[in-house]
């Protein structure tokens, strides 16, 4: 499965600064519109979800990967192929549970927070990169894998590392695409 031949194959590169500044402006604007951090986080998650359900097809077309046979393979795929493809970084993956359905992605470098030194004092529980959680959740849902995705640790909040937790829920039997 590959992109149609009519589409030009070159990699359109746009400036990293532009992307990072755009994301920053998005978060700053949401902070102006919503008083509570939870509302901003939820909004970022919804936006991310909306991106994820569309991005997955682009990802599958471009990476031409085979179907993952386990949750562990899926987590590796997200970290080593998807993150690399879209953000240029490769988080490390670790499995958090004996049952094999909880994983962590540890981000050493996060381009989205290039210019953000620390969260403003009044926004202490803001998950600045919550969009990423929504993207992962939406993408997984489109391949019929229900998951909960959230930030377990965040360097911006003073933690040592930035860690995204993915918990795979029971495989969704429902074949109908339910939108959020």
């Amino acid at each position: 499965m590959s992109r149609s031949p009519g589409r030009k194959q070159e990699n359109h590169k746009i400036s990293r600064e532009l992307f990072v500044l755009t994301y920053g402006a998005l978060v700053a604007q949401l902070c102006k519109e919503y008083e509570k951090d939870e509302d901003v986080n939820a909004c970022l998650d919804r936006m991310g979800y909306s991106i994820g359900i569309r991005l997955i097809d682009d990802f599958l077309a471009r990476s031409a990967v085979k179907k993952c046979r386990s949750y562990s393979e899926t987590a590796d795929m997200i970290a080593q192929v998807a993150f690399k493809m879209y953000l240029g970084v490769t988080p490390s993956v670790s499995c958090n549970s004996v049952t094999g359905n909880e994983f962590s992605l540890i981000l050493d470098k996060n381009p989205l927070v290039d210019f953000v030194e620390e969260l403003p004092a009044e926004r202490a529980s803001l998950c600045y990169c919550n969009l990423l959680c929504g993207v992962i959740r939406g993408a997984l849902e489109m391949v019929h894998l229900a998951a909960e995705v959230s930030f377990l640790q965040d360097r911006l909040k003073g933690d040592a590392v930035t860690e995204i937790g993915i918990t795979f829920l029971r495989k969704s039997e429902d074949r109908r695409h339910r939108r959020n």
Binding site: V27, A28, C31, V116, E117, L119, R123
Partner: protein
């Protein structure tokens, strides 16, 4: 050996001095130097795009101090005041300090939570300024 640094956009955005006495005299010196800066900017007219022209050089020497100026394309002024007795400090060193300041200032501008015109509260900026000023003293 003392050195003072101010970033202003007609009102102060950031002020740091080592040591911290004599603040009033420093503020006075910086404010008078703003007039000199404005003079130099208007003298240059519209040609203020070259990196070399951002550096305004020695604004004016008083008996105690030497005052150096730098202005960004967005008209933010950096003013550095050093003791006259500090003869070890050369022009190109001052230039490179202003360039470092300008780079750090650009990073601050890129912070989505920083509103242009706010006072600058940034640990990274403070660290950079500290190490720079330690070199001068």
């Amino acid at each position: 050996q003392a050195v003072w640094l101010a970033l202003l956009q007609n009102y102060p955005l950031y002020i740091r001095s080592v040591p911290t006495e004599n603040e009033l005299k420093f503020h006075y010196t910086v404010h008078t130097s703003l007039d000199v800066v404005d003079e130099k900017i208007s003298a240059m007219g519209k040609a203020l795009v070259d990196q070399r022209e951002l550096y305004l050089g020695l604004l004016y020497p008083t008996e105690d101090y030497k005052v150096y100026g730098y202005v960004t394309n967005s008209k933010v002024k950096f003013v550095m005041v050093v003791d006259s007795s500090n003869t070890a400090l050369r022009d190109n060193e001052i230039r490179s300090m202003f360039r470092k300041l300008h780079n750090s200032y650009t990073d601050i501008m890129c912070n989505p939570f920083y509103n242009p015109g706010d006072r600058i509260h940034s640990r990274a900026f403070d660290t950079m300024v500290n190490s720079m000023m330690m070199q001068v003293c």
